[in-house]
């Protein structure tokens, strides 16, 4: 079942996100193949030092820690998540996968930044049994400077046998 095209242009947000130093370092620990947290944490060995090592970051051209570009996944995702779970769109999230992702970054994100993200459904397409939902997000910092733009594409398999099967499995599954 196609998603009604009247939802094109539907907006989500603003969502506020304050960049915390410890959260940022935890994110870098995870993506840099360390372990997050302050209990059994381990430092990232595969991350750029300017994203977690205070001394190295202080000596860098940025003068302090900067977020890795992928940190956008923590905050810029909110309008996309809101759209995917929006009752008005009626998407069954079990049949949804993240199909494509594009980002454009405009400048550094640092601990202490207060980011505001808004998003809009910018494309609704149907191809065979698949629906494509595209949400474009814009995140700005406390100075009103755009820091990242994201284009998030979800692919939703429509009803049919597979959808019914998945739904039945979910309803009958041992965890439910």
């Amino acid at each position: 079942m196609a998603i009604d095209r009247k939802h094109l242009g539907r907006r989500y947000g603003p969502f506020r996100f304050e960049v915390g130093r410890e959260h940022l370092r935890d994110f870098v620990a995870v993506t840099g193949m360390g372990v997050p947290g302050r209990v059994s944490g381990a430092p990232p060995t595969g991350a750029h030092p300017w994203t977690w090592d205070d001394a190295a970051a202080a000596a860098s051209p940025h003068g302090g820690l900067v977020a890795p570009p992928s940190y956008a996944a923590c905050f810029a995702i909110e309008p996309f998540a809101a759209a995917c779970t929006d009752a008005a769109l009626g998407i069954d999230v079990v049949r949804l996968v993240h199909g494509e992702q594009a980002f454009e970054w405009f400048g550094p994100i640092r601990p202490g930044d207060v980011l505001t993200t808004t998003g809009e459904i910018t494309s609704l397409r149907e191809r065979g049994p698949l629906d494509f939902v595209e949400v474009t997000t814009t995140s700005s910092n406390q100075r009103g400077e755009a820091v990242v733009r994201g284009v998030w594409t979800a692919v939703v398999r429509s009803g049919g046998f597979l959808g019914v099967l998945l739904k039945a499995r979910r309803l009958l599954g041992e965890d439910r």
Partner: protein, 136 residues
């Protein structure tokens, strides 16, 4: 730190990451993506995936890190796009191979291939741009 002169069309770079058993749980904690398909192997099996799968955005983070390494500064990564085509699971080793495709002014464009240990492409049509500003 690299300058624009250090970049040349045809240069290649490569990184790889092996997904340990807990990586999807760590990524859930850091990113907030607690979709059970990533943290509960039973839910992954119910979805026909044979177990839990890693968040696509974690693989995508490794892709950006590969670019940040080549550009020699995370803030130089200015554009990135990729399609998620195959799941990545604990135990998999994902290799990111980049190639400098073009240099236009201060912009360095790269194309990347992202494959698992079986040579299967897990992210498709991965391209990135770095902005290499000489003065700061």
């Amino acid at each position: 730190m690299k300058t624009l002169r250090d970049f040349a069309v045809g240069q290649t770079f490569q990184t790889s990451r092996t997904v340990d058993r807990y990586r999807p749980i760590y990524y859930a904690a850091a990113s907030g993506d607690f979709n059970p398909i990533h943290i509960d192997p039973r839910v992954g099996r119910m979805a026909g995936l044979g177990g839990a799968i890693l968040q696509g955005m974690c693989t995508y983070a490794w892709l950006t890190d590969a670019c940040a390494g080549y550009f020699d500064d995370p803030v130089r990564v200015r554009k990135l796009r990729a399609r998620f085509v195959k799941p990545v699971k604990p135990g998999d080793t994902v290799t990111f191979t980049g190639r400098c495709a073009a240099i236009e002014g201060s912009t360095v464009r790269v194309e990347l291939e992202v494959r698992n240990q079986d040579g299967v492409e897990v992210l498709e049509r991965a391209t990135a741009e770095g902005l290499i500003e000489e003065e700061r």
